[in-house]
Amino acid sequence: MSTFWIAVIGSSALAFVIKFVGASVPETFLSNPRILRINTLIPVALLTALIAVNTFADKTKLVLDNRALGIVAAIALLIAKAPFPVVVVGAAITSGVAYRYI
């Protein structure tokens, strides 16, 4: 089975298990404040790491390329309170133009 299929099937199966367990166990379980706090921070840590790696890494090399300009555009658009799709499209256009000229 290819890398892609393993990733698709494995992640989908586990995602459902988590959702289903959440809908099935008693509420008092896991309501410890420390676990709740860590749970809200995990997406922050992982999303930030994903941004950093998908912008500045090429496999195991650190690079500075057209994607960095795309992210700068995305930050500017978010500060200007642009809606979600505008942020993504703005970053893509900026990065695409930069790819053509540098």
């Binding site: 099935s24 749970n39 840590a45 999303l47 195991t60 799709p85 970053a91 893509a92």
Partner: protein, 213 residues
């Protein structure tokens, strides 16, 4: 009336964003079918982008699954919160579990009474599911037809999408500090460990920073 309107506007706006996912997945060499299956079966935006992002960065499938699953743990906690309210039994529990995501919970929790909360959950869950999947297909087919993804900036669309998901979570000082350390740790590990490991390693930072009040 207003719960219907809330659900619909959230569904269409968030759903449209599925086109960015479809395009990003195809740009990372997933097939159109695989992109659509992720939206149908995984159905959790951040986790779906994580699968694509980790594989695009050269990570192993195990790494992609682990990162995606850690991002999905919050859906389990949403379920804990909502299950007593929804009074789920049998197949209804299966369906409700699948559509337990940020948006369905967000709209439900914004309502005033229990009946409205239940409506908000079901309308938004189904609405986002329908639009997200339709737009995923559109985005995937679009990206498939345009050739070199870098020339269209699709390689930057993935981190920009993550940034859009991260932005509203940077609500306090703790989150900003964590984000800063996560950038440092992920990038400083990148040249030394296999791709994908730098991302998942940042979970440790969340545990360290979240441990104390």
């Amino acid at each position: 009336m207003s719960v219907k309107r809330d659900s619909f506007s959230v569904s269409i706006t968030v759903g449209a964003y599925g086109s960015a996912f479809g395009a990003a997945a195809v740009a990372a060499d997933f097939s159109v079918l695989q992109a659509c299956l992720l939206s149908l079966l995984l159905f959790s935006g951040a986790s779906q982008f994580a699968v694509v992002g980790v594989i695009a960065a050269g990570g192993t499938p195990i790494n992609a699954i682990a990162t995606s699953t850690l991002l999905g743990t919050r859906n389990g906690l949403y379920g804990l919160r909502l299950a007593p309210l929804l009074k789920l039994r049998g197949w209804k529990r299966v369906v409700a579990a699948q559509i337990t995501i940020d948006e369905s919970i967000g709209v439900a929790l914004a309502q005033k009474d229990e009946a409205q909360m239940r409506k908000g959950f079901w309308y938004t869950g189904f609405g986002v599911f329908i639009f997200w999947n339709l737009f995923t297909l559109a985005g995937a087919l679009g990206a498939q037809s345009i050739g070199n993804p870098s020339a269209w900036g699709l390689d930057a669309a993935v981190p920009a999408a993550f940034l859009g998901l991260l932005w509203p979570r940077l609500s306090d000082r703790k989150s900003w500090v964590l984000a800063g350390f996560a950038i440092l740790l992920a990038l400083s590990l990148t040249p030394f460990v296999p791709a994908g490991i730098p991302i998942i390693s940042c979970t440790a930072l969340a545990i360290i920073i979240g441990w104390r009040k």
